[in-house]
Symmetry: C2
């Protein structure tokens, strides 16, 4: 358990493994950052309501500054980091109808499945950061206007000087396990037949293990052995700024009572049943697609690796 050999022979999870050097030291030089953002070096991504622009041949559409400047609100421009020596940036496109003919706006989840690993991770960073900046033009402490600093690594209030840093919201997502069966649930808004691992945001002043136990009890009424909860792996999830933390949790009380506000259904699935769901041969139940850490947790459990 937790020996990363469990990952051998499996694809890494999408959105993880960014190849960028985020340039922590570079960001301290505000004048240098402004020059970098205003210069002609490097490559730009343009996002439209969080969705990326892809080449019609596949892969992210990387713009030169001169190309994106007429399409995007450049005041949203961010430095993402260096990739193979070139600086990479992102901005929000405002005139999507003027995109090049060989560029395609692609829904985020569809892009996640289509992109190569490096580009999916770079896109995740762009999406999470642009969304955070778009929602933080004002200071939560005093209501004043804020300005991006450090190439987008923080914002500062023009009035009171408060600094604000991008959020990363830890989310526990857990496979509750009771011997040869695991608990899966579904929300009413999901496509018919899809079941997944339960999940929830970590709250202030609790550990990952405590959040796991609280969420399982709140949503499904089951109890787990907190001391037996184990970490498996994580995945950045830029909807909006989550860090999914995959856990496996041994159950001490398996009686399910769902909270209908959170779930439409939750029930125990046998290991064989999960295998048929993963194989796509179950009569009426299926798992989320391969981009989801929930599917990976189920695969690892079905194979006896966690």
């Amino acid at each position: 358990m937790n020996d990363r050999k469990i990952l051998a022979g499996r694809d890494p999870l999408v959105f993880a493994g960014s190849p960028l050097d985020r340039g922590d030291q570079l960001r301290r030089d505000e004048a240098g950052m402004a020059a970098l953002l205003g210069g002609d070096d490097g490559w730009w991504l343009g996002l439209i309501e969080g969705d990326p622009v892809l080449q019609d041949q596949g892969g992210l559409f990387w713009f030169r500054r001169s190309e994106i400047a007429s399409l995007a609100d450049m005041t949203t421009g961010l430095f993402l980091g260096h990739y193979k020596g070139s600086p990479c940036f992102a901005a929000t496109i405002t005139t999507a109808d003027q995109l090049p003919l060989d560029a395609e706006i692609t829904p985020a989840r569809q892009a996640a499945m289509a992109l190569g690993h490096d580009e999916a991770a770079i896109y995740a960073q762009a999406k999470a950061l642009l969304a955070w900046h778009a929602r933080h033009g004002f200071c939560a402490a005093c209501g004043g206007a804020t300005t991006a600093k450090s190439g987008g690594g923080r914002r500062q209030c023009d009035a009171c000087g408060s600094e604000h840093f991008p959020r990363v919201d830890p989310v526990v997502i857990m496979l509750a396990v009771d011997g040869e069966r695991c608990l899966l649930g579904r929300q009413a808004s999901w496509p018919e037949g899809i079941w997944s691992a339960l999940a929830g945001f970590v709250e202030p002043a609790e550990t990952l293990e405590e959040a796991c136990a609280r969420e399982l009890e709140e949503e499904a009424g089951i109890k787990v052995d907190i001391a037996g909860v184990r970490y498996v792996m994580g995945q950045p999830w830029p909807f909006a700024s989550s860090l999914m933390i995959g856990l496996v949790a041994p159950v001490t009380d398996a009686n399910v009572t769902i909270d209908p506000h959170e779930l439409e259904q939750a029930r125990w699935f046998s290991r064989d049943e999960v295998r048929t769901m993963l194989a796509g041969t179950h009569a009426d139940a299926a798992m989320p697609p391969s981009i989801a850490i929930a599917r990976r947790l189920a695969e690892l459990w079905a194979d006896g690796d966690i």
Copy 2:
């Protein structure tokens, strides 16, 4: 590794293990929450600039509503959860000079070492939440005033309706290990002779393991095997709203080059040297106190448990 038997016989980390039922379902009833907060049931904590009020006999000073109402700004009042059937609340004290004679304002870290486990965890929740509310009176999206909802579980903008949720900032804190030695560093602001594990905030779109590798390379110039990074344990750390995530990281390049902006010094310590530091018998180096997860990581490593 990661078998929680490693924790057997050791005290749990302070701030973890809250005994409160946070009342997720109760919080959905705004009228019920308002009645609970305005009622005479239950017990209140009062914090002063984040510090708790303790009884001079030890333990948190729990006020009745009628007692705290004259001392605190009750508009800051929050519902923490139920403890043994009683609702628990927290508010910010504004007239500290009118505290009861048997009440003592106690600095946060001193309180953390003095309080029992349950009360330390409850205090951590109160401290993290009151600080978040105090810094979020305005909407980051539009600058409008916000109002606490759900008993303090969220804030809502009076102008644009945006919802805002308390932050939990994941922080990786890691013992980089190279065979029989581990890396410790110190910041110039720390007391002389104190060395600790390196740490840093997780950034958008990276996993815990990636954040661990990035921080070690940024701060100390060393490289780790990301696939070998292992989770050990976590600790809520309400300064201001961190979740410390303890890791152990195997090193592939042990050449130390510090970033003087982050660290004053960093160097390798042998296992024997760490043992003497933990025992308090090292000539000129010491570890942080027992409330710090860094000390626990060092203890576990010194004992060969991680």
